[in-house]
């Protein structure tokens, strides 16, 4: 019983981790959004597995909420922006893809080195997975720094948020429903605002590259 719980949890966390790497790997924005949706599913699975293991119905409820918002609603909203221009891709990131993948590997190692104390402190099967949460946060930051398309930056922001949520699930004995509800709805609101903003940018200036938006236009 406990063996299968640990291996399921490992699998779900690694799914979240791999999808974070996938958003850096694929240049196509549509693929990045799909990876984000799978990441949401993985995150929800982590919450549900932890909730089922601790017989904590609230945590299972949080998992369902995460599934609805991060795996369905948010990717759908961003997907609508991407659907407007076909073959949308991250054409010229500041660091090329192979280098940024190596960077992601280095950041993961950094996360493992930095969180050794936390892992020793928590000392549960869930606790030893905390470095993955921190690594996902770092990869999200990295993605926001090196990517120039507006949609890529939103994906990076959401990756950071997913990493924070993952760390919270793994490190604590359950996030209060109200807090989780507030945070998740905040993210949803932010994505709605960003989606409207990006759609307007696209319509008015026909650019997605945020670096081009330094000057004021009429």
């Amino acid at each position: 019983m406990s063996f299968s719980y640990v291996s399921l949890l490992d699998l779900a966390v690694v799914v979240v981790m791999v999808t974070a790497a996938l958003t850096l790997w694929r240049q196509s924005l549509a693929a990045a959004v799909k990876a984000l949706a799978v990441q949401g599913v993985g995150l929800a699975a982590v919450a549900v597995i932890l909730g089922a293991h601790r017989h904590d119905l609230v945590l299972v409820g949080v998992g369902v909420l995460v599934l609805a918002i991060k795996a369905v609603a948010v990717p759908w909203l961003i997907g609508r922006v991407v659907a407007h221009d076909h073959a949308a891709r991250e054409a010229s990131p500041l660091i090329n893809v192979p280098a940024s993948l190596v960077g992601a590997g280095v950041l993961t190692l950094l996360a493992f080195a930095a969180t050794r104390g936390v892992v020793a402190l928590v000392a549960t099967p869930a606790g030893r997975l905390i470095p993955f949460g921190v690594a996902i946060v770092l990869i999200g930051f990295f993605s926001m720094v090196v990517r120039r398309r507006a949609v890529s930056q939103i994906v990076g922001l959401l990756t950071i948020d997913n990493g924070i949520a993952l760390t919270a699930f793994l490190g604590t004995s359950g996030v209060p429903l109200v807090v989780e509800l507030g945070v998740t709805l905040d993210v949803l609101l932010a994505v709605v605002v960003l989606q409207v903003l990006v759609a307007h940018l696209q319509r008015h200036f026909n650019v997605h590259d945020l670096d081009q938006l330094r000057d004021l236009h009429d």
């Binding site: 291996s7 490992d10 690694v14 590997g105 030893r128």
Partner: protein
């Protein structure tokens, strides 16, 4: 003493199997591909017939080429056969199986790729040189991904010996671990790149701009070409066989008894057949990626390998 005789028999069996299975797997993959594309396709035995035809033809060699060109196909076949004889394909107790680890197998295989590359450079034609430079680029990125992927698997079980690596998979149920899955995905991408399959190289093309492997072997003709084809297909089967045994270790013989060997032979043939069919189905649904995007693919495979190593260490 008897066990070493049995190991010798097993190694000889693996050696013969790989030479026969190579062309057959090539034929099977071509057949599956043509069927999926709505064509009848040549018989599965066609590559074997091609080999027989090529081996009776006249041997032609470029005028300025040296012994390097002549030796390359022989070294390719020999290195593949040596690697196959000592690998856990049919049985876990082939000759020297307890002493050969994956680094040795991979580097013996590398000997074949490097000799082919040198042979291509030796022809002195611009075309073969271009193919060699591309192959060197791909190879330089494949090796780290391959090594890291198998390193991750060996960290999980605490040995770098290939036979024990496969053998542990048979007995324990820790197969679905995330580290192992990541390592296998990374290993698979690296195999596709190393053996020149889609999406890295199109094995059926003779279009100058895109080909990698075909450009290298363009100057070979007759018996030399037969050896190159044989060596390349045997390499493909060896790597697919290692992948199949690492991913689905069931059915491999643990001893060297006659019955066990026959069972292992059947098991590995079925597994390699299944993986070969899966590769062709994948190839039909995918397009060749641009040469300049190959580093992205292989860097991704490398990252998966690194993540796999990290999870193997962290989730122990």
């Amino acid at each position: 003493m008897t066990s070493s005789v049995g190991g010798g028999v097993a190694s000889a069996l693996q050696l013969l199997w790989i030479l026969l299975a190579g062309p057959l797997a090539l034929g099977l993959m071509r057949k599956v591909r043509s069927r999926l594309e709505g064509r009848e396709g040549a018989s599965v035995l066609q590559p074997l017939r091609d080999l027989r035809k090529l081996s009776t033809k006249q041997r032609t060699r470029p005028t300025d080429s040296t012994w390097v060109f002549a030796a390359a196909p022989v070294v390719l076949v020999a290195s593949t056969v040596v690697a196959a004889a000592f690998s856990p394909l049919v049985t876990l107790s082939a000759l020297l199986a307890s002493r050969v680890d994956f680094v040795a197998i991979l580097f013996v295989l590398l000997l074949g790729s490097v000799s082919l590359l040198l042979g291509a450079l030796d022809t002195g034609t611009a075309f073969a040189g271009m193919g060699a430079s591309r192959a060197a680029m791909v190879g330089a990125m494949v090796e780290p991904a391959l090594l890291v992927a198998i390193l991750a698997m060996s960290l999980g079980v605490g040995t770098s010996n290939l036979s024990r690596l496969v053998g542990v998979g048979v007995t324990t149920s820790a197969l679905a671990g995330p580290a192992r899955i990541l390592a296998l995905v990374s290993f698979f991408i690296a195999i596709l790149a190393e053996t020149g399959r889609l999406p890295v190289d199109n094995p059926a093309t003779h279009l100058e701009l895109t080909m990698i492997h075909e450009a290298m072997v363009l100057e070979y003709a007759g018996p030399d070409l037969a050896l190159v084809t044989l060596g390349e297909s045997a390499r493909l089967v060896l790597l697919l066989g290692l992948f199949a045994n690492l991913a689905l270790p069931w059915g491999i013989a643990s001893g060297t008894g006659a019955l066990a060997l026959v069972g292992g032979l059947l098991a590995v043939s079925i597994k390699v057949g299944l993986v070969a069919v899966a590769v062709s189905v994948f190839e039909v649904t995918t397009a060749k990626i641009r040469l300049f995007r190959i580093p992205e693919l292989l860097a991704g495979a490398f990252l998966l390998g690194v993540l796999s190593v990290i999870s193997a260490v962290a989730l122990r």
